[in-house]
């Protein structure tokens, strides 16, 4: 077990966001977290990274409780985020953004290797390395954001809406790359609105509704689940269930 949520509650002031949530993610998996707007998906990501602290429950990473640890310590232990809407440092160069991904690591041959690995995975990023990140297209920014996260050599990659705002061709590319990253040994926990795409590459998925896990299981099964088909795969025009 790489990451586990045990009965996690979170609050923003009086607003109860996550309600007794349980997740468990095995090493080597791609796990998708599905759900509509404001259901607690992004809060889940922020809770993993330590930007939001649970009011109750435990977050366990690699056998140790991490819910009280500062964000930097979690990054050091091997959790890296690909943030919603990319969130690159807009006035820094592409290369500097990649460097920031490796902020807690030493410079040296390993760093150079990882840069080369990112360039091999994303040739466009190499072409643009001296460009100011804020001037890139959305798709290019997504590549830099993923490259930046890989520079931390994460064991767990937490991706928040990797397909958001991208053209369909780009979405396919991004998902291919996510699979490639996973095959090289990185566990992936992915929040995604695009349930169809997410379920096509994920091993398992959780469905979150108003802060509670309402469904979970193998991606294949969830794809056939009528409730999912209605609500997230757009096969019937039923009112939103979020």
């Amino acid at each position: 077990m790489l990451l586990e949520f045990k009965d996690v509650d979170t609050h923003y002031g009086d607003l109860h966001v996550l309600k007794k949530v349980n997740y468990s993610i095995e090493k080597g998996e791609i796990v998708a977290l599905l759900g509509g707007n404001a259901c607690g998906k992004s809060t889940t990501m922020k809770t993993i990274m330590g930007v939001v602290r649970p009011t109750r429950g435990q977050v366990i990473f690699d056998g140790q409780a991490i819910e009280k640890l500062p964000t930097a310590e979690r990054v050091r232990r091997g959790i890296a985020p690909v943030l919603e809407a990319r969130r690159l440092f807009p006035r820094m160069t592409v290369f500097e953004n990649l460097e920031m991904g490796a902020y807690l690591r030493k410079r040296g041959p390993e760093f150079d290797q990882d840069i080369e690995r990112v360039y091999a995975l994303f040739p466009r990023v190499k072409e643009r390395r001296d460009q100011i990140a804020g001037t890139l297209s959305g798709g290019e920014q997504q590549m830099v954001a993923m490259g930046r996260a890989l520079m931390a050599r994460p064991r767990l990659l937490c991706m928040d809406e990797p397909s958001m705002g991208l053209s369909p061709i780009f979405v396919e590319q991004v998902f291919d790359i996510i699979q490639a990253i996973n095959r090289s040994g990185t566990t992936i926990f992915m929040v995604e609105q695009n349930a169809n795409m997410a379920l096509s590459i994920a091993h398992r998925a959780y469905v979150l509704q108003t802060g509670q896990v309402v469904l979970s299981g193998a991606a294949e099964e969830l794809r056939r689940n009528p409730l999912i088909r209605e609500a997230y795969l757009g096969e019937m025009q039923v009112g939103a269930t979020t």
């Binding site: 930007v51 930097a72 969130r87 440092f89 006035r91 820094m92 001037t135 930046r148």
Partner: protein
């Protein structure tokens, strides 16, 4: 003096004042860049720095106007005075952040800014009550060597001020551009939450911004003393407001912008004193502040707009 000589002379004067304003403006810009806070206590960190420099020079036996040291020993003493002044000023900046501002970090609204005004008055009154209200003579340890360029005069002292200011500004620029912590500062200024999730400890970055900004203000305070040959508990407000204008003019949050803005304000001050009247200096400078805020709030070197695609 011909018009050209006057112009040259005022350029020399303006560059000296500008160097001082630029050092002071950098502190506003560093802190604003990260916390979006206008730090009014910065005014009087500059003033305290001026007194710390005076005290250090006196410890080395430099008071009055006579030259007691020359050559390398003089360079050493000046270097020591700048280092101690910057260290103490930087420490004051860090203390202000830790004691007065960090507890207010998550308080919304103008509480933090108003606190900085309060701290500014505390420093102001501490100096008033301990050293007194009269202005103090600043030693002039640099030999009175003058170079004549046409009708204009360039003092060795002024060259020294330029050298110190240039080294400090280049140092800061390379620190912010190249060093790991400097990059963390820029990243935090651009997106604090994202920087945090890269593993940046934002509190450390904030401390660093206060330390560097306050240290530079201390150096600026010592330059004030060396340039005008006096210091007083009152010097913070005028210089501070002009330097704040410089930071806004260059685009607040923008490090090279603060440097250029500072130089411009210095030149404007020198020129208006020569060609208009000293009394008009502040009218002109603060009109610039208002005009920039109304017509180009991002300043001369406004930031490159981030694209949210």
């Amino acid at each position: 003096m011909t018009f050209a000589d006057l112009l040259l002379q005022q350029t020399i004067n303006g560059l000296s004042l500008g160097a001082m304003y630029a050092l002071l403006a950098l502190g506003f810009t560093l802190v604003y860049g990260i916390l979006e806070l206008i730090n009014f206590s910065h005014f009087n960190v500059f003033m305290v720095g001026s007194f710390v420099g005076l005290w250090v020079l006196q410890q080395f036996g430099l008071s009055g106007q006579e030259i007691v040291l020359a050559g390398l020993p003089l360079v050493g003493v000046l270097l020591a005075a700048f280092v101690v002044t910057m260290g103490v000023s930087g420490g004051i900046g860090v203390a202000i952040e830790r004691l007065c501002l960090r507890p207010l970090r998550n308080v919304k609204g103008p509480a933090a800014m108003i606190t900085t005004i309060g701290v500014s008055y505390i420093l102001f009154n501490i100096v008033l009550l301990t050293v007194g209200a009269d202005s103090k003579n600043y030693p002039n340890p640099v030999p009175a060597i003058h170079y004549h360029i046409g009708g204009a005069v360039l003092d060795l002292r002024v060259i020294l001020i330029w050298i110190v200011a240039t080294i400090l500004m280049l140092g800061l620029y390379f620190f912010v551009q190249r060093s790991r912590l400097g990059k963390a500062m820029r990243a935090t200024a651009q997106d604090a939450e994202a920087a945090r999730m890269m593993g940046v400890e934002v509190d450390k970055v904030i401390i660093m911004a206060f330390f560097l900004g306050s240290a530079l203000a201390g150096a600026g305070g010592m330059i004030f003393g060396l340039y005008y040959n006096f210091t007083s508990f009152l010097i913070g407000f005028t210089a501070g407001l002009r330097a704040f204008t410089a930071a806004v003019l260059g685009g607040i949050g923008n490090v090279p912008g603060a440097m250029v803005g500072g130089i411009l304000i210095g030149l404007i001050e020198a020129m208006s004193a020569q060609f208009l009247a000293t009394a008009w200096t502040d009218v002109i400078i603060f009109s610039i502040l208002v005009l920039v805020l109304v017509f180009k709030p991002s300043g001369l070197f406004g930031r490159i707009a981030p694209t949210k695609s």
